[in-house]
């Protein structure tokens, strides 16, 4: 919880700043609209967290999101009856891409930076080849409900976010969570103490792929078909995770903080937009955040600030 606190403070400040400019934000509908918009990135950041805390990267999620949306539109082609099997297929595609990333990284010992960079290029090339730059088909109304519709006053995407967030927290509290952090912290020590490092990391990639699939379903639902839907999302997700205080290289940080990081990033973008700052600056802001957050993380805590002695092996600060 201690590691989660700073990001929650920043988030609260930003939310207050938004509310100051836009009072509608304080009403339930206004706030829910914000969470609805942030939900895809928060889920994607949770997926990215699993990979990063295990000591790896997943750069392929942005183009995976694009693949999911474009494939969904082409296969559904406006037919309501096709919605459900396509949804299952999309989840399967996400899991499969994650599995491939994980197996290549662990079994073939290709650094994940390269594996997932390659996967990103493969997927975006494949999408372009398949669509020729112009996606075809259309999503069904039922498909779009998840990203666009409401259950009573609450958007579906907010409910999906709550479910995904709860699942992520439970996962990190389970044995798997401890093994995952131990793997990222010290691979050798984890292996010696009986953790199946490769299997743990593969599962982290699979979770990231699943998160990308859900993100694709929500984003496609929110705004419809587009061949650019996932552009730059991998960097937004990594920025969010890093902003949440999760250490690049693994072993430190909580999934709640990572998700709070995504909310913070979205709040920051909303604020920039409210002040009329062009979207081009979003990249600049992300770049500054990544560098600054890693710089902060790389510094040693001074003795008078760190009341507790340095972290022991296996002290995971989960959730």
């Amino acid at each position: 919880m201690k590691r989660t606190l700073p990001i929650l403070v920043v988030l609260a400040v930003l939310l207050a700043a938004i509310a100051l400019v836009n009072p509608f934000f304080l009403e339930p509908a206004g706030f829910l609209a914000f969470v609805k918009r942030a939900a895809p990135l928060v889920i994607l950041a949770a997926g990215q967290y699993f990979v990063i805390v295990s000591g790896e990267f997943d750069l392929s999620v942005g183009s995976l999101v694009t693949v999911e949306v474009v494939v969904a539109a082409r296969l559904i082609d406006g037919q309501e009856s096709a919605t459900w099997w396509v949804l299952l297929l999309l989840i399967a595609v996400g899991l499969l891409v994650g599995l491939l990333n994980g197996v290549v990284t662990t079994a073939l010992r290709v650094p994940s930076f390269i594996t997932t960079l390659g996967m990103m290029l493969i997927l975006s090339g494949a999408v372009f080849l398949w669509t020729g730059g112009a996606p075809r088909g259309a999503l069904s109304e039922a498909f779009r409900t998840f990203g666009r519709g409401n259950l009573g006053p609450v958007p579906w995407s907010v409910l999906i976010l709550l479910a995904a967030g709860a699942a992520a927290i439970l996962l990190m509290r389970s044995d798997f969570g401890r093994r995952l952090v131990a793997t990222g912290d010290n691979e050798r020590a984890a292996a010696l103490s009986g953790v199946r490092v490769a299997r743990t990391r593969i599962l982290a990639f699979v979770l990231s792929g699943a998160a990308a699939a859900i993100t694709g379903i929500l984003l496609g639902g929110f705004a419809g078909v587009s061949a650019q839907v996932g552009q730059g999302l991998e960097f937004s997700a990594i920025t969010a995770v890093v902003l949440g205080g999760v250490a690049l290289g693994g072993g430190r940080g909580s999934v709640v903080a990572a998700m709070a990081g995504a909310l913070t990033l979205e709040a920051l973008f909303t604020l920039l937009n409210l002040y009329g700052i062009s979207g081009a600056l979003e990249f600049t802001v992300q770049g500054v955040i990544i560098i600054a957050a890693v710089a902060v993380g790389a510094l040693r805590l001074p003795a008078w600030l760190a009341k507790h002695p340095p972290r022991k092996q296996g002290d995971t600060h989960v959730a």
Binding site: G132, G133, T270, N273, Y275, V288
Partner: protein, 404 residues
């Protein structure tokens, strides 16, 4: 070392504060303008900001005048029509026998270019005298297009069509090619008059003004207009916006925001939702390109508000939405049928027939009266209606449509 952590934290916080701070002079200015606008309704349209550096008054006036001129030629074949043509002789290029036609394409990386490229290939297939058609795709890279153009000069082309990726960078490459082979340039231009003909529709000022004039007509005095742009600094998009700005500035409507969307549907929807929240009601939306128009419409639907006067483009998804929702809308166009014209021009040149030096194609706008003519539900959502391809062999399948 121990002092560094607070220092870095300070840097981070100050960055965030700075990000918020450096903008703080903008909103008061905007509110100040809108306040003065509401206080004095006779004031010119507020909130449009500085005029674009790309704005050229003479071009603006010329394009706006061109809209009402009657183009020469068969009105059922607008891709062969020309506005105010100044014909040039091409007798020196006349040749007999089969034609080897070459094409250096900037890119096929968006739906507009996809539709155009299909139409150009279909046009080539219509002409038996074209025995060989060599096309190279520069994939949106200037350096690749420069080497593509050089490579094509060594391939024995009888005529070279160029769709430049950017104007200034490609000019020397086109100049070099002009000396060896008749060159036809279309879509974006080059800074040289060495090509035999330069083909494009009326242009960005006309596009931007068509949409803005519609809003000025439909939005009541003092009504709130939101302007959505893809990104700054691109000449074709800057001309569209600068024309709209000039139109709004002369009107009674109030431009409450000019936002960049990166052409992203999710971002467009978010921006429009924010404006609906902030202003309660938006009376009109102007866009510099229609690809995300449906997302903007959905933002109003999802907010439970009636959809205001909209400016879109001739993509099927928008036309469908327009029809289904009975919208108050207009669709200025940058017709994809211009991809047929360079092939026709090349054959005319090689036959020694005169062609216009500057071949200005008509640039119609779709209104509620002509909507039904252009709406084709069997075509894919991102198809551009003004492809001029309906009568071509392979339509609609080759353009991604279903036989209906």
């Amino acid at each position: 070392m121990s002092r560094n952590r607070p220092l870095v934290a300070l840097v981070v916080t100050s960055t965030i504060v700075f990000a918020a701070g450096c903008t703080s002079d903008k909103p008061p200015a905007a509110t100040g303008q809108s306040a003065s606008a509401s206080a004095a309704p006779a004031a010119t349209g507020a909130g449009t900001g500085e005029q674009s550096k790309f704005f050229v008054q003479a071009d603006f006036d010329a394009q706006l005048a061109m809209r009402t001129k009657t183009p020469q030629g068969d009105a059922s074949r607008p891709w062969e029509q020309a506005i105010d043509p100044q014909m040039v002789s091409t007798a020196k290029y006349k040749k007999d026998g089969g034609v080897h036609l070459c094409f250096s394409n900037a890119a096929v990386n968006n739906p507009w270019r996809q539709v155009g490229w299909k139409s150009m290939q279909a046009e080539v297939a219509l002409h038996k005298e074209i025995t060989k058609f060599t096309a190279l795709d520069a994939e949106g890279k200037d350096d690749k297009q420069i080497s593509d153009i050089a490579e094509l000069q060594g391939q024995g082309c009888d005529a070279l069509i160029v769709s430049p990726n950017t104007t200034a960078t490609l000019t020397p490459a086109v100049k070099a090619a002009c000396g060896k082979v008749p060159v036809i340039v279309f879509d974006r231009g080059v800074d040289t008059d060495c090509p035999v003909t330069f083909i494009n529709p009326i242009g960005g000022y006309a596009f931007g003004a068509d949409g803005a004039e519609f809003l000025v007509e439909k939005v009541p005095a003092g009504g709130k207009v939101l302007a959505l742009r893809i990104l700054p600094g691109v000449d074709v998009l800057e001309t569209r916006w600068s024309a709209a700005k000039a139109t709004f500035d002369k009107s009674q409507v109030q431009v409450v925001g000019v936002e960049f969307t990166d052409g992203d549907a999710a971002k467009t929807k978010s921006v429009v939702s924010d404006y609906i929240q902030r202003h309660g009601k938006i009376d009109g939306v102007w866009m510099d390109a229609g690809a995300t128009a449906v997302a903007a419409v959905e933002a109003f639907e999802d907010a439970g508000q009636p959809v205001p006067a909209m400016v879109g483009e001739d993509q099927q998804d928008f036309l469908q939405k327009w029809k289904d929702g009975g919208l108050t809308a207009i669709a200025p166009t940058y017709p994809t049928y211009q991809w047929r014209t360079p092939v026709i021009a090349a054959l005319k040149i090689l036959a020694g027939e005169e062609v216009p030096k500057t071949w200005k194609l008509p640039q119609p706008k779709i209104t509620s009266d002509t909507l039904d003519t252009y709406l084709r539900p069997n075509m894919p959502p991102l198809h551009y209606a003004l492809c001029g391809c309906e009568e071509m062999p392979g339509f609609p399948e080759n353009w991604g449509g279903k036989k209906s």
